[in-house]
Symmetry: C2
């Protein structure tokens, strides 16, 4: 594979990732959830199972815990999450999604599914599944960070 081939793949990958992110964001806004940024989605994903501490969230997002704390301030202020006492550690606080936070998460899933459905129409469902499997093998532990 020549260098220019590699750049073509890189461009295609970045373009697809950028478009997906943008369209999920638009879909979430269209469903009435304003003031959320794409980064919030990754926080929600980490909080969803059973909540998380600020430090866990920071590690998940790859930012400092101060940045994660600010992000939590933000989503708490907007009503998507709340801070509770941590059951086993009086220093920590457990951040959990509110019902509105869950609704927003579902909206993001719907928006993502909508985009992926378009891709399935273009490529066929099997191809899209193959795409997911290959991407998963390529970067099983890729960073949850901005693409640049």
């Amino acid at each position: 594979m020549q260098n220019s081939e590699a750049m073509a793949l890189s461009a295609a990958l970045l373009a697809a990732a950028g478009e997906l992110t943008q369209r999920i964001h638009e879909g979430v806004v269209a469903r009435g959830f304003e003031g959320v940024r794409p980064a919030h989605g990754f926080a929600f994903a980490r909080l969803a199972p059973g909540g998380a501490t600020v430090t866990e969230l920071a590690a998940h997002l790859g930012v400092t815990k101060q940045a994660a704390s600010q992000l939590v301030d933000d989503i708490v202020r907007r009503g998507y999450a709340e801070r509770r006492a941590h059951p086993g550690d009086a220093r920590a606080r457990l951040v959990v999604l509110t019902e509105r936070g869950w609704a927003c998460t579902r909206a993001a899933e719907e928006a993502a599914a909508e985009v992926v459905r378009e891709w399935s129409d273009l490529l066929g469902e099997g191809e899209v599944r193959a795409l997911r499997d290959r991407l998963g093998r390529i970067a099983p532990y890729g960073p949850l960070r901005p693409a640049w």
Copy 2:
């Protein structure tokens, strides 16, 4: 395709894009080009053929022309590009890569090829080519913006 499947694909896509970007950046730094950010790479790609104006660059990157102008200030200060008089428009300035800018571009291509070679080892060259084609069909005009 269920919503959770769509999220799995999204996560895989973002992870792959993030990892690729990060590793190209690391490769460029390892080749001795410091102070460059991933965003610079997309500027270089637009400047490479025969230069571009600040306004063209801004459109390419999807930012304001002020932001593009600052980015040009930056790469000029670091010796990667220079501003020349525009041949047919005295208002405009043509931004062109210097030899150092070309060297940095080649370094990025090498770094990208290195990563893609790893992927070829994992999936096979044909699979990687198929990946590129499918991504290209999915988002032929995707934004050159941060993934979030």
